[in-house]
């Protein structure tokens, strides 16, 4: 144990000091700022204008190192490891000091109150919110007032919570799963058999044995408050073959240790049948159209390619079509009078550009395109993050610690009361962990008050005979 403490002392004194922790935090801030300024961090959110404005591409570190995965980079991970070690050692030493301090305080608590004056002084300290203990030794009586001991506990709790949060982040990184899939109404998805559009799997993540199949019944695209279902669906437990579960857009559903959640992307899947004059079928079924925003309007489009890309069909769905100025435009995103625009290209040459209403068939060049009904599709996420609960636990701890730290400031006032030759005199000293200037003011007021008490105090009103004899 001694050896361990000696090693910890060396680490504490030379490497893991609070100043070092501060430098690590500055390092973390720097990394976060670079991440925030680098537009390649996440193209879907970050404006390219900022990149042009700051000419970030020209800044060599950003350009050469890339920083695409800032928070997974070795430097950040190393910073977090150092920070964790620093925190752990700090917690160890803080706890050790706190235990020692409490032991000392208990010894003092048992000391007897000696004189009336002693009691009056103690009362004065207590009025100011100090917990008082007294100790008599010869002609000196020491009255010790302490305040803010919960501050230290708060500080320990807060730093411990950061370690818990960092631990949670590590668990999240290595043992979590986050998969995205998209489904059209009527389709099913089985996470063990079907492919995710995008999945991030932690190194130590193990797929649960419990399996399920998710069947999408219908998508309700409009957001409804007060818990109204935005999506109705069925989760079929393979073993039990039942369970009709409505899924709410704002309320994830947990199944087999994983949480199913509707994503924010949703769109239309029209039924399209493409065949040629010889009766050869090129495509048949519901096609998920991508949605994008153009000039404030939602655009639903897709393309299909055949025969090594030589034949290409480009589609655009106009959900609420209106014929205006020689062409169709969509007035809204609602399915009122849907029309499908079809462009057929062969070797990049446009063969046909035509429109077909829902339920209709159109002949474009040598192809026949049937446009059936329209279903909706939606994006879903399936995630499992065991680190999340650890993080939340840490956050709760952090809050308690911060509040304790805020409401208490560690202060100590020591009054030495001397009783020599029938005369009484005292001195007062104090220490504070912070706020020195206001504490000095408090101490000065206290000194004046005690002097006033002493002036009024009749000489040698001693209640403890043992002390009287000593004097």
């Amino acid at each position: 144990m001694d050896k361990i403490i000696r090693i910890l002392n060396i680490i504490k004194g030379k490497i893991v000091t609070p100043k070092f922790a501060t430098i690590l935090m500055i390092h973390l801030v720097g990394f976060s700022v670079i991440a925030a300024l680098n537009p390649s961090f996440d193209d879907s959110y970050y404006s390219k204008n900022l990149n042009q404005l700051l000419a970030l591409d020209n800044i060599s570190p950003v350009k050469t190192i890339g920083f695409q995965h800032h928070f997974e980079s070795f430097a950040v991970v190393l910073t977090l490891i150092f920070l964790s070690v620093s925190l752990l050692i700090s917690i160890f030493y803080r706890s050790k000091t706190e235990i020692k301090r409490n032991k000392k305080s208990n010894i003092l608590k048992n000391a007897p109150a000696i004189t009336n004056l002693n009691q009056t002084f103690s009362k004065k300290l207590e009025e100011n919110g100090y917990s008082v203990s007294a100790n008599a030794s010869g002609i000196v009586t020491t009255i010790r007032g302490q305040k803010g001991k919960y501050g230290n506990i708060g500080s320990i709790l807060f730093h411990a919570s950061l370690v818990i949060i960092l631990l949670g982040i590590a668990v999240s990184k290595y043992a979590s799963f986050d998969g995205i899939f998209a489904l059209t109404e009527g389709q099913t998805f089985n996470p063990s058999k079907d492919r995710f559009l995008n999945a991030q799997t932690g190194k130590y993540y193990q797929h649960p044995k419990e399996d399920f199949t998710f069947k999408l019944l219908n998508v309700e695209p409009s957001y409804k408050v007060n818990g109204a279902a935005t999506l109705a669906s069925i989760i079929e437990n393979v073993k039990e073959k039942k369970a009709h579960i409505p899924v709410y857009i704002n309320n994830g559903y947990t199944v087999g240790g994983r949480t199913l959640h509707q994503g924010d992307k949703t769109g239309y899947s029209p039924y399209i049948h493409i065949s040629n004059e010889d009766g050869k079928i090129f495509s048949e079924g519901y096609t998920r159209f991508a949605t994008s925003s153009q000039n404030g309007h939602r655009m639903h489009s897709d393309l299909l390619e055949f025969e090594n890309g030589t034949i290409r069909f480009e589609f655009e769905l106009l959900p609420d079509a209106l014929f205006r100025d020689g062409k169709y435009v969509s007035r809204s995103n609602e399915l009122n009078s849907p029309i499908l625009r079809v462009v057929v290209l062969k070797n990049k040459n446009v063969l046909a550009d035509t429109y077909v209403p829902a339920g209709g068939i159109v002949k474009a060049a040598e192809y026949e395109i049937a446009f059936g009904d329209i279903r909706r599709w939606s994006e879903f996420t399936l995630s499992s993050d065991p680190g999340l609960n650890v993080i939340l636990f840490g956050v709760a701890f952090a809050l308690i610690g911060l509040v304790l730290r805020l409401i208490s400031v560690k202060k100590e006032i020591i009054i030495n009361l001397y009783s020599i030759n029938e005369s009484l005199t005292f001195d007062i000293i104090g220490t504070t962990e912070k706020f020195q200037a206001s504490f000095e003011n408090e101490l000065s007021v206290m000194r004046t008050d005690l002097e006033n008490i002493l002036k009024k105090f009749p000489k040698l009103v001693v209640t403890d005979e043992q002390i009287l004899e000593e004097v």
Binding site: P18, T22, F41, Y223, L399, K434, S438
Partner: protein, 274 residues
């Protein structure tokens, strides 16, 4: 209604600007009587400000910190509120008005350039968490703004020797440092609660607690910046004073950017109503 509110709002801004001018004159020309006048002007401005905020609340039916205009106005209101309360309790705060009022009327002026916002709360924002999240953001920025004001006063105090320090309620520089620390600690806690409540709301709304959205990232940067401030205060005692005073002012700019500037520069999921 909106026209009357708009006029009252700008009158409030003028009152705050006037109060700053009077504070500045009181300090530069060492006229202690002007300090009381400045406080009275601030109080009148605050009463008008409260009337505008209350009228807006009654008009819309939801607390006024949802739109850009409302959020900025609410933060300024909170800053003035704690200034007025604390100066009564701690007289040495009175002269700090010269540091705080510029931030207040600049923020109010910036807020005034934005439209008032929708009268109906957008459906996506109809959540109990909005009020927790937004009120703690407002309170945190109010504290940071006040701290920056104290920092300005601290820098002024170091550079200028006042003969009438007692009459002008000017305290020792160390007193300002301590007070700044307390305000930033309080703001740091409020900001932490704002991030946590935001994460809980994000989970309910978007299915994840944290998504590295620009505002989330900048909020983390701001929080870390203030954590660094607290660490420096504890561990680098030599850097207390002027350095940390400048730090508090710069950190406030980062905090303001993370709340109201990010939406201008970046595409973000976080939207202000209206």
């Amino acid at each position: 209604m909106e026209t009357i509110l708009s006029v009252l709002y700008w009158v409030t801004v003028i009152f705050y600007a006037f109060s700053f001018a009077i504070f500045a004159v009181a300090l530069i020309f060492q006229k202690s009587k002007l300090l009381n006048l400045a406080l009275r002007v601030t109080l009148i401005g605050f009463m008008l400000h409260t009337a505008v905020a209350t009228a807006r609340w009654v008009d819309t039916g939801y607390p006024p910190f949802v739109s850009y205009f409302e959020a900025m106005s609410a933060s300024a209101w909170f800053g003035v509120l704690i200034f007025l309360i604390l100066q009564q309790w701690k007289p040495f705060i009175r002269a700090v008005g010269v540091g705080i009022m510029p931030f207040i009327f600049l923020l109010m002026g910036w807020g005034g350039t934005h439209p008032f916002g929708e009268k109906i709360l957008p459906v996506s924002l109809q959540s109990f968490w909005l009020f927790i999240h937004a009120s703690f953001a407002t309170a945190a920025v109010g504290c940071f703004m006040f701290a920056a004001g104290v920092a300005v006063m601290r820098i002024y105090k170091q550079k200028n020797n006042c003969i009438l320090e007692e009459q002008l309620f000017i305290a020792k520089a160390e007193r300002y440092d301590e007070f700044n620390f307390r305000l930033i600690l309080l703001g740091f806690i409020f900001y932490g609660i704002m991030i946590i409540s935001g994460a809980i709301w994000a989970d309910a709304a978007w299915g994840r607690y944290w998504g590295w959205d620009p505002i989330e990232l900048w909020s983390l940067i701001t929080w870390l910046l203030y954590a660094v401030y607290l660490h420096i205060y504890f561990t680098w005692k030599k850097l207390r004073g002027k350095f940390l005073a400048f730090y508090a002012i710069i950190a406030l700019l980062v905090a303001a950017f993370s709340l109201w500037g990010v939406g201008i520069v970046y595409k973000t999921l976080h939207t202000y109503g209206g």
